[in-house]
């Protein structure tokens, strides 16, 4: 592990920097997969099919944005999928009791926010490591939904509720896709255009230095945990609406997919660097690959092998690459 980052004598020119960036590479990969898919299957280049393909990454992507910022800040949240399970379970319970749509959405968001707040308190107030805390809450949140539901399922959702996961804003653009684009812009602006975003980078690079330069480290981290919880709640609303049913095993293993998406997007798992556009591109790549595999009838568990290999490969390849290159270049 290198202790100091390599600081170049002068910066690359903008165009050269763009061409050498991780994001550019990802965009190339996305285009290549797009072309490969359209050659492999005649059904791929149909606007409605492509619109369906976006469901493979919209919900995951919604969580990946705040997760990227959280990882940049040097923390991690492995409880996101369990937050979805708990939020979805409580929405299901309310729906069964006859709650209107607005209340259901509100419950989803509040439960997400509450789960994030609980993580935030444990990590920032008690100073506990976020990996262990969120492994604990991952078990706790999903455990609560098992206590409530057991081996049952909630399916009694009101008809209009289906809009969030199945509705279209106009033509082939689904509600989820529009929400994804909107949130990409919001989080992109937050990370790259505000002082809050600068603070997140500062904390990730040097938490002690950030503290001594007057940044309220604990507060920034708490806000990031809250955002992650809130976005998990929003994803829970979309997913529940799309599936129309809730089981305690809903979104099982999603935390891995979200972390993979973030890392694939070029975010350093050790914190300090990464961009939101990178995460958007990673979402596209993962969505296209999953959809392509689906068209080729590859079973889900084989896709998960691919995701696991992708996660390790994406981190391992640059490290192998820099090892092969002679030092000092």
């Amino acid at each position: 592990m290198s202790d100091a980052r390599h600081i170049p004598d002068r910066l690359d020119r903008p165009l050269r920097r763009l061409l050498r960036s991780w994001e550019f590479l990802l965009a190339l990969v996305a285009v290549a997969i797009f072309i490969a898919n359209s050659l492999a299957s005649p059904y791929f280049l149909n606007p409605w099919n492509l619109s369906d393909a976006t469901y493979n990454f919209t919900e995951l992507g919604l969580i990946a944005f705040p997760m990227a910022m959280l990882i940049v800040a040097g923390e991690i949240d492995l409880s996101v999928a369990s937050t979805i399970a708990l939020a979805s379970t409580l929405m299901g319970a309310a729906a069964t009791a006859g709650a209107p749509i607005a209340v259901l959405v509100l419950i989803g968001l509040v439960v997400g926010l509450f789960c994030g707040a609980f993580n935030a308190v444990l990590v920032t107030r008690l100073g506990l490591p976020s990996i262990v805390v969120t492994i604990g809450t991952m078990s706790l949140y999903r455990g609560l939904s098992y206590i409530i539901l057991g081996n049952q399922a909630y399916t009694a959702y009101p008809t209009g509720f289906a809009y969030f996961g199945q509705g279209y804003v106009f033509w082939v653009f689904s509600f989820e896709l529009v929400l994804f684009v909107l949130m990409a812009v919001v989080f992109g602006a937050l990370q790259h255009r505000t002082s809050f975003g600068r603070m997140v980078y500062a904390i990730g690079n040097n938490p002690t230095g950030a503290l001594f330069s007057g940044i309220r480290v604990a507060r920034v981290k708490a806000i990031l945990f809250l955002l992650t919880g809130l976005m998990s709640g929003i994803a829970a609303v979309c997913l529940t609406s799309r599936l129309g049913s809730t089981r305690p095993s809903i979104a099982l293993g999603w935390e891995l997919q979200v972390v993979t998406m973030v890392v694939l997007g070029g975010v350093d798992i050790l914190g300090g660097s990464g961009t939101i556009p990178g995460v958007v591109l990673a979402a596209l790549v993962m969505g296209l690959v999953t959809f392509g595999f689906g068209l080729l009838n590859v079973p889900g568990i084989v896709m998960s092998i691919f995701i696991g290999l992708l996660l390790i490969g994406v981190i391992a390849l640059p490290r192998l690459w820099s090892r092969l290159k002679p030092r000092g270049t």
């Binding site: 592990m1 991690i76 444990l122 920032t124 107030r125 008690l126 100073g127 506990l128 490591p129 990996i131 262990v132 805390v133 492994i135 604990g136 809450t137 991952m138 078990s139 706790l140 949140y141 999903r142 455990g143 609560l144 098992y146 206590i147 057991g150 081996n151 938490p207 002690t208 503290l211 309220r216 480290v217 604990a218 507060r219 305690p248 293993g253 891995l256 972390v259 890392v263 798992i269 050790l270 079973p299 568990i301 084989v302 998960s304 092998i305 995701i307 696991g308 290999l309 996660l311 390790i312 981190i315 391992a316 490290r319 192998l320």
Partner: protein, 324 residues
Amino acid sequence: MSRALKSREALLGGAILSMVALIAIRFPQFVAPSNLVGTFNDTSPLILLALGEMAVILAKCIDLSVAANLALCGMVAAMMNTMGIPLPLIILAATALGAVVGMVNGLLVWKLDIPPIVVTLGTMTITRGAIFLISGGKWINDQQLSESFKDFPRSVVLGLPVMAWVAIVVALAFAVLIGRTPFGRSLFAVGGNPNAAIYTGINVGRTQALAFTLAGALAGLTGYLWIARYAVAYVDIANGFELDVVAACVIGGISIAGGAGSVAGAVLGALFLGVIKNALPVVGISPFWQMAISGSAILAAVAINARERRRAGRVILKTAESRA
């Protein structure tokens, strides 16, 4: 002496005993010798995996792939059994395969400097997928497994099933390995302060890789025991069990930051969860509570660990940071 009484292990042992006593007041059948033996036997896989995980956590790493590794080795053992391969060879092969999977984790951490949590999250899904690929998603059930394959962990020696004896023997071997060998000392050194460990001539990466290999070998051995005991093998066996394993370690006082913990702690942490798991049906609580209880136990244990560490007093900056 008073230090030994105040130690975390004594505290945890006391908690387990009082829990058993409380249950026994209402449900005396719970402390019948046969039920206690059964409880210990049921907890043996957790003890075995917690010991391996302890070595990994001591060395400042974490292994989330142990349960998937267990399932893979168990499936391979079951498939070898259906081919008629002799039992000793099967056990050896399962253990060796587990060690190889653990070594892959270790090499990725050692040679490529990838954070252990990322490596093992990845290998966890890859290993699960591999089980699907080799088994074609099919189950191997009771009738397809030979009697000798199923009987070995269940056969009773000196009042305890062989599976329980394996856990006891491995725990004793670990006590020697951790407390009395250079490897054991180097685990603590690596976890306590990796930089200082390098200056004292310890190969940090190699020590971590060895810990992963050891955890993998134990997962492989447990894989055979698990499949033989429950007499069925399929893709999702022991799904989510890695969380119980980490929980057992954290409850047992093994610091997730590395460098602190004991064999007794890991065993007691596993027993704590095992007693709860076996008591739930006796007390009449739905088994669906298990997951939430494990989660709460992890959170309570890290919170308590952190308080103890703070009382001991360490770097001032750290406290300042967490209060800000």
